[in-house]
């Protein structure tokens, strides 16, 4: 450690003096679903602009991203910088794993280039800034306009309309006695809490930390359970379905609606052309709730050369580079200039995102959120869907987690 500190100090001195630059390596972890990985091009551009800094970027699979990150931090083998989501921040701060970037931000000219309010949203639980936003999305409803038109349905704006539409859309299209299309592709595995939340947390007086066990709160979970058990409007595999399954099912025409963000829009258009469109999620029980899907980068506390790590993450959130980054992830840039010139998604999906922003929310800034996302929600939701427990029991379990 002493040696590392001395080295870090020495390299900082060298940089300040503007003399020969010390060689340092920044180990960066990220997760991309997209196989067309732009990271190599970004790294090449960065290394050319910053001789003496080498970037070692690892694409870590999403399913175990946080398991691996936490374990690496405890094992003393954490990366120097990493892509991170808001739900993990309270836990990472509690672990002392993040380095504050307030000073760097103050003197960075890219700061004013960021979209308004994003830095504020990404603030740490202790008021310090650890996260630098790099992309964002808002979840909305994907639907099949051709199927809606065929059945004379309107795009649902309330939960009741949604349920009617889902029931009507679930049908046997070729007369062989098998259901070929299901109304809604529900994500019952890890990551599906956003689907459930849109039907539950918009209800009056309901949030993850308050009112979940009230009548309104339980009604939300019951709504999901009924859609699956009574209406059979989800594919039978819904309890285990994850990202691949809901997107694949929608693209293949197995489902007529699903909830996801603009990140999958281009793939959907590639598969379905004009037969896919988007709208904000329906209003349920007097309000709307959709997830603000954030993604930031952070410098880790154990980074050997924090300055180099900061240079790299701020590079990713600068005009032009941020565009390139988001062109591959399919999400939306956080830099104003890149946002204005954005033309990589068909307008209808950008519009659905913008229309959803007024009621988009993040999960609570609490260390319970990680357990909610990773185990408590998926397990209890699956148990409700297969009839193991009641919706009231599920909500009680979640309320207990956040009440601790």
């Amino acid at each position: 450690m002493k040696l590392a500190k001395t080295l870090g100090f020495a390299s900082a001195l060298a940089l300040v003096a503007g003399l020969a630059q010390a060689d340092s390596t920044v180990r960066f972890w990220y997760h991309f679903d997209n196989a067309d990985n732009p990271m190599d091009a970004l790294i090449a551009a960065f290394e050319e602009a910053n001789p003496g800094i080498k970037i070692e970027a690892d694409n870590v699979p999403w399913n175990s991203y946080y398991d691996q990150l936490y374990t690496a931090i405890i094992g003393g083998n954490a990366p120097d910088a990493a892509m991170v989501k808001a739900f993990a921040q309270p836990r990472l701060v509690e672990m002392g794993a993040l380095a504050p970037i307030d000073d760097e931000l103050a003197s960075w000219d890219g700061r004013d280039q960021l979209l308004d309010n994003l830095l504020e949203l990404a603030k740490g639980p202790d008021g310090k800034q650890y996260y630098l936003p790099v992309q964002y999305v808002v979840l909305y409803l994907y639907y099949r306009p051709d199927m809606f038109e065929e059945l004379g349905l309107a795009v649902p704006t309330t939960c009741e309309e949604f349920r009617d539409a889902a029931k009507a859309l679930t049908r046997d299209t070729d007369g062989d006695g098998q259901i070929d299309v299901y109304g809604f592709g529900f994500r019952g595995a890890k990551g599906g809490h956003d689907h459930w939340a849109s039907f539950t947390l918009g209800r009056e007086g309901v949030s993850l930390t308050d009112g979940l066990t009230s009548e309104a709160g339980v009604a939300g979970t019951q709504f999901v359970a009924d859609l699956f058990q009574t209406d059979e409007a989800f594919p039978p595999s819904a309890p285990n379905d994850g990202f691949q399954e809901i997107i694949g099912g929608f693209k293949a025409g197995k489902t007529a609606m699903t909830i996801h963000h603009i990140g999958s829009a281009n793939g959907m258009v590639e598969a379905l052309g004009d037969k896919v469109s988007a709208a904000p999620v329906p209003e349920c029980g007097g309000g709307r709730w959709t997830a603000f899907g954030d993604e930031s980068t952070a410098v880790l506390a154990n980074a050997e050369d924090k300055e180099a790590a900061w240079k790299w993450i701020s590079f990713l959130s600068s005009a032009g580079n941020n565009s390139m980054f988001n062109a591959a992830t399919g999400q939306l840039p956080v830099v104003k200039a890149d946002s204005q010139s954005w033309s990589l998604h068909p307008q209808r999906f950008v519009q659905a995102t913008v229309d959803s922003l007024p009621f988009a929310q993040m999960l609570p800034n609490s260390s319970a959120t990680a357990d909610f996302v990773n185990t408590v929600w998926p397990t209890s939701m699956q148990r409700v869907l297969i009839g193991d427990i009641t919706p009231a029991e599920m909500n009680a379990e979640i309320a207990e987690l956040f009440g601790k």
């Binding site: 398991d67 936490y70 374990t71 405890i74 836990r91 509690e94 672990m95 006695g177 098998q178 259901i179 019952g188 595995a189 890890k190 594919p235 039978p236 595999s237 819904a238 309890p239 285990n240 379905d241 099912g249 293949a252 197995k254 260390s367 357990d371 990773n374 185990t375 998926p378 397990t379 209890s380 699956q382 148990r383 869907l385 297969i386 193991d388 427990i389």
Partner: protein
């Protein structure tokens, strides 16, 4: 080794220094293996036992609080622990006999002369040689309710009326995984038993057939006793491996839907690695180790007697 063959008279002539070095030599030669085993097997085991007596949540690394047997008490009152234990028992008592039976039949077939036999013997090992993750992903696709070949096949045969979500239905998920594991593990038994079969002298069978023993009797009184030692070892090894493996389940269902495919090793892993609750996760692992030890000791006692 050579010591034993030396006459005692010569031993007395050996100078004391040489005698000492002779005494030390075996220890010196064994020590690298022993030290490595201690470091990478024994030490983590002790550490796990030690952690299980503490309240240790990884994201609060500075709180390492002694709770005695608190974690064990909590585990015994934990619904999920009992669900997982039940699944573990079902899983072990069906997977291993199924693998053994399938392996035995395969070995007997492969022991018959037929053209291309060496090729068949090589091919049979494939499921065993594939990485678990590949097997799990492959079977996830086989069971897929929309595109899976299992549903397609059964639908066309008219055995089922609509596609079954094998892995999403709590009634079929565990059975589906057991079938996958049986397929993965039977080549191990086949290869072990085949080796055992080849060590039985042909003359036994010739003598038996001259005496007029039927095929069944030859199998019952020559083949089975001839391979019982191999079978016992294979079952023991497999029992320990199957009990400890959770990778296939983890990839196929992650324990879901709900707790429908939770087993004890998986539960310990999820608790420790996903919830980062290392104290509780270790307690489950220790409990499971103790249970497994009881089973193994009991098994060794019973079958050891039968074989000897």
């Amino acid at each position: 080794m050579t010591d034993a063959s030396l006459p005692p008279v010569q031993n007395a002539d050996v100078p004391p220094a040489r005698a000492l070095s002779r005494r030390i030599l075996p220890y010196a030669m064994l020590s690298p293996a022993v030290i490595v085993t201690l470091a990478i097997v024994f030490f983590p085991m002790v550490q796990t036992a030690w952690m299980s007596l503490h309240d240790y949540v990884l994201f609060r690394p500075n709180d390492f609080e002694w709770v005695g047997l608190g974690n064990f008490k909590a585990a015994l009152q934990d619904e999920v622990f009992w669900i997982s234990l039940r699944h573990t028992i079902i899983w072990m008592t069906t997977t291993i006999p199924a693998q053994l039976l399938l392996g035995l039949v395969t070995a007997l077939l492969l022991n018959q002369p037929f053209p291309w036999r060496p090729v068949a013997r090589a091919l049979i090992i494939i499921p065993w040689a594939l990485p678990s993750v590949v097997i799990a992903l492959m079977w996830v696709w086989i069971y897929d309710s929309n595109y899976g070949i299992a549903n397609e096949f059964l639908l066309r045969l008219g055995l089922i009326q609509r596609a079954i979500p094998w892995l999403a239905d709590p009634d079929t998920a565990l059975a589906a995984i057991i079938l996958t594991l049986t397929w993965q593990g039977f080549p191990f038994f086949a290869v072990m038993i085949l080796a055992g079969l080849q060590s039985i002298p042909r003359s036994y069978y010739e003598a038996a057939s001259i005496d007029g023993a039927s095929t069944w009797n030859q199998f019952r009184y020559i083949t089975l006793p001839g391979i019982s030692g191999v079978m016992m070892t294979a079952v023991l090894l497999r029992m320990i491996w199957v009990a400890n493996s959770f990778d296939v389940i983890f990839v196929m269902t992650g324990g879901g839907p709900g707790y429908a495919t939770y087993t004890l090793p998986l539960y310990a892993f999820v608790k420790a690695r996903t919830n980062l609750d290392f104290g509780y996760g270790s307690a489950i692992a220790v409990l499971f180790t103790l249970l497994l030890m009881v089973v193994v000791v009991f098994y060794l006692k019973r079958t050891g007697k039968a074989v000897s």
